[in-house]
């Protein structure tokens, strides 16, 4: 039986309960688990022991790439490929290349962020086993859930269920794979 389930889903009624539950699951050493709430609960990141997102690294790389692209593009077009003097200005100056580079910094940083959402946050996710649980739709309304996956190294069909009961979880359901 225990090999066949995807994990357990336990319900909680208030943001305070889900915060305490998350802290206890974190302290119990679980790694493959998640929390589902109808709205962002501030402080949940540290309650779950999540590390800071790595998405902003790609944002920074995108920004640097955008700035460089802008500068190179204006230099290539105005000073190299088709040298043209406009308004008595030099063929290339970072001053007039700056607005373009600045816009491209923002654009490429946004692309980097988008890429980070796909790579690091595994978006988009169209299906997840919790969706099969009859109780789960209320995570979009008024209930708070902890889901512990069966592939967690500490998962045990009996003891994990008892643990979830012990930390105050209600309507504990085994998830079909």
């Amino acid at each position: 039986m225990s090999e066949q389930i995807h994990g357990y889903l336990a319900a909680f009624d208030t943001p305070a309960e889900i915060m305490h539950a998350a802290e206890q699951v974190r302290d119990a050493g679980f790694q493959h688990w998640d929390v589902h709430t109808p709205f962002p609960v501030h402080g949940m990141d540290s309650a779950m022991g999540l590390k800071r997102s790595r998405v902003q690294r790609l944002t920074l790389l995108g920004g640097i790439a955008g700035f460089t692209t802008g500068m190179l593009m204006v230099w290539y077009m105005n000073a190299f490929d088709y040298p043209l003097i406009v308004g008595g200005k030099p063929l290339f100056s970072p001053l007039f290349a700056f607005p373009v580079s600045y816009e491209l910094t923002i654009l490429f940083a946004a692309f980097g962020t988008l890429g980070g959402m796909f790579l690091f946050n595994r978006l988009p996710m169209h299906y997840h086993p919790v969706m099969k649980a009859v109780t789960w739709p209320r995570a979009t309304d008024d209930r708070f859930f902890v889901a512990i996956d069966a592939d967690d190294p500490r998962f045990d069909a009996e003891r994990t269920r008892e643990f979830l009961e012990q930390i105050g979880g209600k309507d504990i359901a085994a998830l079909e794979p």
Binding site: A16, M19, H42, S46, L60, K89, F96
Partner: protein, 425 residues
């Protein structure tokens, strides 16, 4: 997420650093005395220019405090409520800044033309690299309806009137709410914030035009008021960050100001670093691109001497570009820097120093020799400028510390106080 009980934190505010110390007032008076000594050692103009620089610097920061209070109300912000009380203490400085501005007004009437040359119709422009007198200058004639000594005085009094009045309203509303807990005070402040934002935007814009831009009355730039605003906001946020950091280190803000508040102030510091750069670059870029002599001369005299040799101000300008934008921008990008007091404090001090350099860059080069070359940055006038900055700053710190014990540590009955106390990422 437990709602913290506000009353446990605020029954007796712990004393801030330097409370009861005579150091700020002593330093303030000593600085002002040295600045006045410049009047006799280096001439009235050198001392007055330093005094003006100091006031432009500190008034900009104080206006930034006022904007931060009003922005909190207009957006009905929850997170900033615990910090607002410190801002309310800080805006107590306006009346003292007004008193300290008085000598400049007296000087404007007693010796017109000393600071703002256009005030004296007989001012000989050939002494600053021009020709003729102000009275025969067509460009002054066109602007004389606005640039007159009487109107200038009325406007300056009006600016301080607006700021002192708004500061008094927000302080009264917030302090009274501590006692009676009435929601009407918050609603009143919100309405005043709507009107006050417009009033302060207009008054600080015109203050920048009158006090700084009119030093070079031929010149014009539509970005000038926004430059003054952005510079003041950067200074105000840096002071706020330092107040938080010192308060946290001394335990004054234990359980009140948390890492997330500091993170948000740091985020605003980064945002206004970018905003300042955007404004300053736009002003330079438009003038550079149009290349019209009526506008470019303002930057030229901050870059080259009349014989084409580089001026000291060119290096000051480059120091501002890299030191005031690039370094803080790259440094403040990091999450860690914005949340660790030990890392945020140095950049707050750094921004304040460079903010003063930026004000110097805008004010001091109006002092020119007969060839039209500005006095170098590193000259005796810098001594009186720094003395005046320390002097006015000391008075401001003294005013803040004097206001601190008159109210509770945080606005305990603000409708959003619990939201602010439990503010988390």
């Amino acid at each position: 997420m437990s709602a913290s009980s506000a009353s446990t934190y605020s029954s007796v505010p712990a004393a801030p650093a330097l409370a009861g110390s005579s150091l700020p007032l002593g330093l303030g008076v000593a600085g002002l005395v040295v600045a006045v000594a410049g009047f006799f050692v280096d001439g009235p103009q050198a001392a007055a220019a330093g005094w003006l620089t100091a006031l432009v610097f500190w008034v900009g920061i104080a206006v930034g405090f006022l904007f931060l209070i009003m922005l909190g109300y207009i957006f009905d912000a929850g997170w900033s409520v615990v910090l607002r009380r410190q801002l309310e203490h800080l805006v107590s400085v306006f009346k003292w800044l007004a008193v300290l501005f008085l000598p400049l007004l007296v000087l404007a009437w007693a010796k017109p033309g000393l600071l703002w040359h256009w005030m004296d119709p007989n001012f000989d422009l050939s002494t600053v690299g021009g020709h003729g007198t102000v009275g025969t200058d067509v460009l002054y004639g066109k602007k004389s309806g606005f640039l007159s000594l009487g109107f200038f005085t009325v406007r300056t009094v009006a600016y301080f009137g607006v700021w002192i009045g708004l500061a008094a309203v927000f302080r009264r509303n917030s302090f009274t709410q501590d006692a009676d807990g009435e929601a009407k005070w918050t609603l009143s402040s919100r309405k005043w914030a709507a009107a006050g934002l417009a009033l302060t935007a207009v008054s600080s814009t015109f203050a920048a035009i009158d006090w700084v831009k009119s030093l070079e009355y031929h010149w014009f730039s539509t970005m000038y008021g926004v430059w003054y605003f952005s510079n003041g906001m950067r200074g105000a946020l840096s002071v706020l960050a330092l107040v938080c950091i010192v308060g946290l280190a001394r335990g004054t803000f234990t359980g009140v100001v948390n890492r997330t508040h500091l993170y948000d102030v740091g985020k605003l510091m980064l945002a206004f670093t970018v905003f300042w750069a955007y404004i300053t670059f736009s002003q330079y870029f438009l003038i550079w691109n149009a290349n019209v002599p009526e506008e470019t001369f303002w930057y030229n005299l901050r870059e080259v001497l009349h014989d084409g040799a580089p001026s000291q101000w060119k290096w000051v300008g480059l120091a501002i570009l890299f030191g005031y934008f690039l370094v803080p921008f790259l440094y403040l990008l990091s999450y860690k820097v914005k949340t660790v007091p030990r890392l945020l404090a140095p950049v707050a001090v750094w921004i304040l120093v460079l903010s003063l350099v930026d004000v110097c860059y805008n004010v001091l080069p109006f002092r020119k020799d007969a060839a039209g070359d500005p006095l170098p940055f590193l000259s005796l006038q810098l001594v009186w400028t720094i003395a005046a900055v320390v002097g006015v700053g000391g008075i401001c710190v003294w005013s803040y510390l004097r206001s601190f014990p008159t109210a509770k540590l945080i606005p305990i009955r603000d409708p959003r106080i619990n939201e602010s106390l439990s503010h988390r990422e």
